[in-house]
Subunit: 136 residues, 2 copies
DNA sequence: CCGCATCCGTAACGATACTG
DNA sequence: CAGTATCGTTACGGATGCGG
């Protein structure tokens, strides 16, 4: 396992800021944005065209969808295939790498389904506690 | 499993925007921010005081650390315990909920460790491809 | 149909100084 | 030690319009 488990999250403070950061940060910074994980899950369900993805995730803008797809392609998590039809057809699908990410990602999804209610309840309780303090 | 696996990421387009969003989004929006996952992993390694956390993650600001800890507490993922020493001591630790998150989260960490190099290589290749195009 | 470019508002985040 | 308050910057993301 990585250094993380030891509690030493970053390399000892070397003079070099060092660009290639901790793998954990790198990966989380990528799937952590608002849309990436959702698109990955959608592509996992089935390879899709641009417009299909827009329908699957209705509240993403074209701008963001394009950007997320470029990033996935760049990171080697998805592939882009253009068909010279008219009008053109572009299909996105998960790469091997992308598929391998699904296992841990689906783990998170399952956790989310199981614990979402409890989390929302905890938030409510916490906020009500604050409200009591504010009322004085 | 949730609707996600079917590719239907959000509820059918009901008139209600509905505040309580898809669990997946909710959870990812929380651990997806720049620091939360890192703090969770650190707390998992061992319960820690505020300043210990700062040392474990040297490049987080006090402002952000405070905010992340408040959010974790609010979501019921971590607990905050104050000891009336002088100067005061505050210890944070994972709650049961928080611990249950560790399983899927560590899955992601392991994936990151395994695939980080390949991802960086893919990026490099991609960027070089772009450079070739730009050179013409 | 696909997707790039532009403009712009809003958050997230960082640095610093100050308090119990 | 463990925060809060304030300020400034940056990057994320939405809306729209053009082009292949």
């Amino acid at each position: 396992m990585s250094r993380v488990a030891t509690g030493n999250l970053v390399e000892g403070q070397d003079a070099e800021p060092d660009l290639s950061r901790c793998p954990v940060r790198d990966v989380l910074d990528h799937i952590g944005n608002k849309w990436t994980a959702l698109i990955l899950l959608t592509l996992n369900a089935s390879p899709s065209r641009f417009s299909q993805l827009q329908r699957a995730v209705p509240d993403i803008s074209k701008r963001m969808l394009t950007q997320v797809l470029r990033d996935l392609e760049r990171d080697g998590l998805a592939t882009r295939q253009v068909f010279a039809t008219k009008p053109p057809t572009v299909e996105y699908r998960l790469s091997r790498q992308g598929e391998s990410l699904m296992t841990p990602l689906i783990g998170l999804v399952q956790w989310a389904d199981l614990h979402h209610d409890a989390m929302r309840a905890a938030r409510k309780t916490y906020d009500e506690g604050l409200a009591l303090l504010a009322a004085r």
